[in-house]
């Protein structure tokens, strides 16, 4: 029998439509292959700067998300009690008029009564612009419960963070050290980068209690005790400083290490940096031996000179650092037992870092000129790079830990140099170049400025004269003064408690607050359904927009159904969180590669419509008519400043980039170019960006800055010291008495480590963590017929010691108890795990009735959330106060501080707590999936 004849060149598709993925926050370019007008196949776009053709498991399964049976079909109003899931479909006109009838009176009387928070929103510059026009101070996205410590610590310290805002110099790094990262931020770039390191044989050290994923391929795995990363890092700093293995030239020229700090205890300015009349930090100029502004032309900052001024001694930051970090408090021998790493190993890692940074330094023959006008012949690289994310930040000591990591990077001279860590535009951008937060609301008026930003001292807090928070989430109040991303995780409990005040309408977008996006999930569901004495809901009205039948849908009164990511316009903007590379500015769009087959609308288009109906400034023309027909119209025609719009590419007549008039063909231009725009940074501007005038000039030309904004890194976090001074009674505003000791303890201007707040209860000794699987994004994956087969349930992974101690065997269940509650869940043995840590995958557990899954789906019967046993408040300590379970500086939710105890129990019928099913607002899902468009 002859071999069958095969057609090895079948037609691939009728057409390729290029857009941007939204299966997670990574924003890769995708080629959507169309057959017969339908989506047939999705692959990565080879030309795209983010993913260069590769695509992860989620992205490649996008077609099943696009066809999910959980897609909402039409606007709905609630007809049953909240939480039941009983809805009636209504027209868009009715939906929009209902929303207007709720929102318009609030705006005219008291705009603070609207709280508008968004979850996995990629249009924050737009949603915040809308909220600002509306006039409510109560707007934020989800950064506060995500990873604000990482962002804020990075920006306050060095004007940029890890997250997706910077990246290791993957092509040159020789030693890469990775601390706990969430797999959905920069996920493909990190994987691609690791691949490059592996190809070159560079060394990878993974610091993570759990050895999966990236840590599984690390050459060295450091299975650290959760919450002690800061101590470990400062011990490395100790070793390096003690051995003089620090980059003195880098520290002197490019950081505040030479800046003079008031060293007189008791002085009103104790701990503040000495400044000239223009407010510029002063250093001793090595040429004159006298103080000079740090950025004066030709100034040669001296690291060792101190200065007496007005009777007070001022000493360089580096001297304070020496005093702090050279003490035995940070010696490897002292910290070893706390961090769970041998002292020898800590020293070996420090030594290896020193060896690579200084003995294997890179020199590029590229001339560059710094902000003092000094020209350097070469670019010197320290090829040690670091990256970190939620693993180190979601602790109550996370801000200081993230700062400690940046301190380590900076003393090595490995930020913005070849082989080190590189910023992606619009970063570097120091905290001082960001806006300050605003919260002054007036009836019928827009807010006085952007909601979120960076405070620089007590004067910038959003509190009234009685110290009461102005925002519903209490962001930028004394409790969490530097909460740069807001505190979405506090909104529902504060609104429920009427503390600091009551609200009327809660509007949420893509935030599954009734399930996996809340701490303390069961109580949150209770808060959303609680009624007051009059029988009214305590949170009177809830508007929710989501594309899918998530758990949160059942708790809303009005549902505005969103589209899938293949049916919508979006812009991934330089005004927001763009897709830039370390060597290029880039932004991107999404566009409807197919039109929805349901009566749904992109939420941003709905906001344009609502903005017009409500008469919001920015959303109405002078004659009162609606300004933007839809989001695409906004993307193309909105100008934030003259010449600066959401998209930087093809402005004006299509030839202008960065700055230029709106172009009516701009979106078409993007589509022609694969839905993205990229502008490469010139070679001489690629490194030393904060100080490199070639970069500064390029950034101005590209519209990133209005004027060059060079700055030096802040090892000394002066805003923190200002808050401490206020607590010491040296400011017109002072924190409440109960917070003063905490201010003294935690708000040190130099990075410190203190134990996570939940470490005190001796009954709960085991650390409990979650990780996000690479093949799932939050709760979204379970509606995906392909992905849910990979992660259909989540066991609690238990290390050998605890496994043996409890006599667990395969198939066993355990009761996991925290100070706040208990869950009963299946367990699984894992050896490559910190011996005192258990963990599970995040957001696999689902509520029955949600996501169009069968009620007996494993997600609902065997899956579970750790959220149930994490509270937004710490247990009572006997001081009559309930302290927040968050970082005292930024308010970052301290998810990973969780401590539990574990006992073996008889297997229940299903994971506990088992919540009753909610009614599904979408038709039953098909039994079989046999997806094929072509024949």
């Amino acid at each position: 029998m002859p071999q069958p004849k095969l057609d090895t060149s079948p037609k691939v598709s009728d057409e390729i439509r290029k857009t941007t993925c939204y299966m997670c926050a990574c924003r890769c370019g995708i080629n959507v292959h169309m057959k017969e007008g339908k989506v047939a196949y999705i692959e990565g776009n080879k030309d795209h700067p983010v993913n260069q053709g590769v695509l992860c498991a989620k992205g490649s399964a996008g077609i099943m998300q696009h066809l999910s049976p959980a897609r909402l079909r039409a606007p709905m109003k609630r007809v049953g009690p909240r939480g039941s899931g009983e809805f009636e479909e209504i027209t868009w006109e009715e939906a929009l008029e209902t929303a207007v009838s709720w929102l318009k009176p609030l705006r005219e009387t008291d705009p603070t009564k609207l709280a508008f928070f968004t979850g996995r929103d990629q249009s924050q510059s737009f949603t915040s612009f809308w909220a600002q026009g509306y006039g409510t101070p109560n707007y934020a996205a989800h950064g506060g419960f995500c990873s604000v410590n990482m962002a804020a610590a990075g920006i306050y310290t060095m004007g940029g963070a890890f997250w997706e805002f910077g990246q290791p110099d993957w092509d040159r790094t020789k030693l890469f050290m990775l601390f706990g990262v969430a797999e959905d931020h920069d996920s493909n770039p990190i994987k691609m980068g690791l691949g490059k390191l592996k190809e070159r044989g560079a060394r990878v050290i993974g610091v993570n209690p759990i050895r999966t994923g990236y840590n599984a391929i690390a050459d060295d795995w450091v299975g650290i005790t959760p919450g002690t990363d800061g101590l470990f890092i400062l011990s490395l700093v100790h070793c390096l400083m003690k051995a003089g293995r620090i980059d003195l030239d880098y520290l002197a020229r490019l950081t505040d290490a030479p800046c003079l700090v008031n060293a007189e205890e008791g002085s009103d300015a104790f701990g503040l940096i000495l400044r000239d009349e223009a407010g510029k930090a002063l250093v001793i100029d090595g040429r004159t031996g006298k103080p000079a502004a740090f950025d004066g032309e030709g100034v040669e900052p001296d690291l060792s000179g101190s200065w007496r001024h007005a009777g007070f001694t001022h000493r360089p930051v580096l001297h304070h650092m020496a005093e702090r970090y050279l003490t035995d408090e940070y010696a490897p021998e002292t910290v070893a037992s706390k961090v769970g790493i041998d002292a020898t190993r800590i020293r070996a890692i420090a030594a290896d870092i020193a060896r690579v940074a200084f003995d294997e330094a890179i020199e590029l023959d590229r001339e560059w000129t710094d902000f003092r006008g000094v020209t350097h012949k070469k670019m010197i690289g320290r090829p040690v790079a670091f990256h970190a994310m939620r693993g180190i930040s979601a602790h109550s000591n996370g801000f200081q830990t993230c700062r400690a990591l940046h301190l380590l990077q900076i003393i090595l001279g490995s930020v913005e140099v070849p082989g080190g860590f590189r910023f992606k535009p619009p970063y570097p951008k120091p905290a001082t170049a960001h806006p300050k937060p605003h919260a002054n609301a007036q009836p019928g008026k827009p807010l006085d400025g952007p909601h979120l930003g960076f405070v620089h001292g007590p004067d910038d807090l959003l509190i009234d004269d009685d110290n009461n928070p102005k925002r519903i989430d209490k962001a930028f109040s004394w409790e969490n003064p530097m909460s740069s991303h807001g505190m979405m995780h506090m909104v529902i409990s504060n609104a429920h408690a009427g503390d600091p005040y009551k609200i009327d309408t809660l509007m949420l977008y893509m935030a599954n607050m009734a399930w996996n996006s809340s701490m303390n999930t069961s109580s949150v569901m209770q808060m959303l359904t609680d009624t007051d004495d009059s029988g009214e809901y305590v949170i009177p009205r809830i508007i929710y927009s989501d594309a899918y039948s998530s758990e949160m849908v059942a708790y809303a009164d009005l549902i505005l159904p969103d589209t899938t990511y293949l049916e919508r316009h979006d812009c991934i903007s330089l005004l927001d969180r763009p897709i830039c590379e370390a060597g290029a500015a880039a932004d991107a769009i999404r566009w409807p590669v197919v039109e929805p087959d349901r009566d749904v609308r992109g939420f941003q288009s709905v906001l344009c419509d609502l903005g017009g109906r409500l008469g919001l400034p920015g959303f109405t023309n002078e004659d009162g008519s609606t300004k933007y027909a839809n989001y695409a119209d906004y993307i193309q025609n909105h100008e934030r400043k003259p010449g600066i719009g959401p998209l930087a590419g093809w402005r004006g007549d299509g030839e202008d980039h960065g700055r230029g008039k709106p172009n009516p063909d701009q979106i078409e231009k993007y589509k022609e170019n694969g839905s993205f725009w990229i502008s490469h940074i010139p070679e001489e501007a690629e490194f030393y960006k904060p100080w490199n005038m070639a970069y500064q000039d390029w950034a101005v030309k590209t519209g990133i800055f209005d004027a060059p904004t060079p700055y030096i890194f802040s090892l000394w976090c002066e805003p923190l010291r200002k808050f401490q001074l206020a607590a010491e009674g040296k400011h017109r505003r002072q924190p409440p008495e109960r917070l003063k000791a905490q201010y003294a303890e935690t708000m040190d201007p130099l990075p410190i480590w203190y134990p996570p707040f939940s470490d005190t209860d001796q009954r709960f000794t085991v650390h409990a963590l979650t990780q996000r699987p690479m093949a799932m994004y939050h709760s979204w994956g379970s509606q995906n017929a392909w992905l849910r087969q990979i992660h259909g349930r989540n066991p609690l992974y238990v290390p050998t010691k605890i496994w043996d101690a409890n006599g667990f065997t395969e198939g066993d269940w355990a009761r996991v108890t925290s100070p706040h509650g208990e869950i009963t869940v299946p367990v699984m043995h894992m050896a490559a795990l910190n011996e005192n840590t258990v963990w599970t995958w995040n957001a696999i557990g689902k509520r029955k009735g949600a996501w169009a899954l069968d009620k007996d789906a494993p997600e609902a019967t065997k899956g579970f959330l750790l959220n149930h046993i994490i509270h937004e408040l710490l247990p009572a300590k006997g001081d009559g106060l309930r302290w927040s379970n968050s970082d005292p500086i930024t308010g970052q939710a301290a998810w990973f501080d969780l401590r539990v105890k574990i006992e073996k129990v008889a297997a229940p019928k299903e994971s506990l707590p088992a919540h009753p099913a909610q009614k599904s607002p979408v038709p039953e899902a098909p039994q079989t999936v046999k997806q094929k468009v072509g024949s």
Partner: protein
């Protein structure tokens, strides 16, 4: 064509790097997507949104923990597995209908679905679990090495590689001709000591696996200790060192 060819013109296959695979499952769904829309019947899923979803996949990522003999910490490996396109493919010779065959041109093992009676014997004969019966179409599905991509003249040349290789973010998968000693894949196998799975089964797998590099072997402190020789024992000493160093520099 149940008999195996005595010789194939090329020996196309995959080389999978266990030192690099992070276990992201990208190759799993990229494969599912391409092969659902292309060669043969779609890869179906039954009880897709229910209690026991079962779908056919041509590539799955296992994971294994290895406990070294010494006291070193346990290691975890992500382990992609798909058809190895064996030289001596037992799945082919057991097939009663000739539906399974190994191509003479390139050694790819394929199932001609219109001849498949769905007896399942080939899946029994395969030691690697590379073949799965489609739960809806009831024909045997397996990796085709994307035979409809790698020669596809309707695709740009750079895309003519298996979907799993094209999508792999970490670059842990490589595709090429293993009979050509100068090919990239052959060189990788030679340099990194690529190995066969279950060599004792005598199947002569074409796909090779690159072993993980040794882990947790940070150099002993003695070698590195000069790098941490203290310049001073306490802060004052450090400042004196600082002064001296800065003088030397300037």
């Amino acid at each position: 064509m149940t008999s195996l060819p005595t010789h194939t013109e090329k020996t196309l296959g995959l080389v999978i790097d266990l030192d690099t695979c992070v276990g992201c499952h990208a190759c799993v769904t990229a494969c599912k997507g391409w092969n659902t829309e292309n060669y043969g019947a779609p890869l179906a899923d039954t009880d897709a949104y229910g209690a026991e979803p079962v779908g056919s996949f041509l590539n799955r990522i296992h994971s294994y923990e290895v406990q070294p003999e010494n006291d070193a910490p346990a290691q975890l490996f992500h382990f992609p597995k798909s058809c190895l396109h064996c030289a001596d493919a037992p799945c082919v010779t057991v097939c009663p209908t000739g539906a399974s065959y190994k191509r003479v041109e390139d050694g790819i093992v394929l199932v001609n679905e219109s001849d498949c009676i769905g007896c399942g014997l080939c899946a029994w004969a395969c030691p690697y679990g590379a073949r799965e019966m489609d739960p809806v179409e009831k024909v045997m599905k397996k990796c085709t090495l994307c035979v409809d991509r790698i020669y596809n003249e309707n695709m740009p040349e750079e895309d003519r590689q298996p979907a799993c290789v094209r999508t792999c973010p970490a670059g842990a998968r490589h595709f090429g001709d293993l009979s050509d000693p100068d090919s990239d894949v052959s060189r990788l196998v030679a340099e990194r000591g690529g190995f066969d799975l279950m060599p004792e089964q005598g199947t002569g797998p074409v796909n090779k696996y690159l072993p993980p590099r040794p882990k947790d072997e940070i150099p002993e402190f003695d070698i590195l200790s000069p790098y941490l020789a203290p310049v001073a024992e306490e802060p004052q000493g450090f400042l004196r060192w600082l002064d001296k160093t800065l003088e030397r520099v300037s």
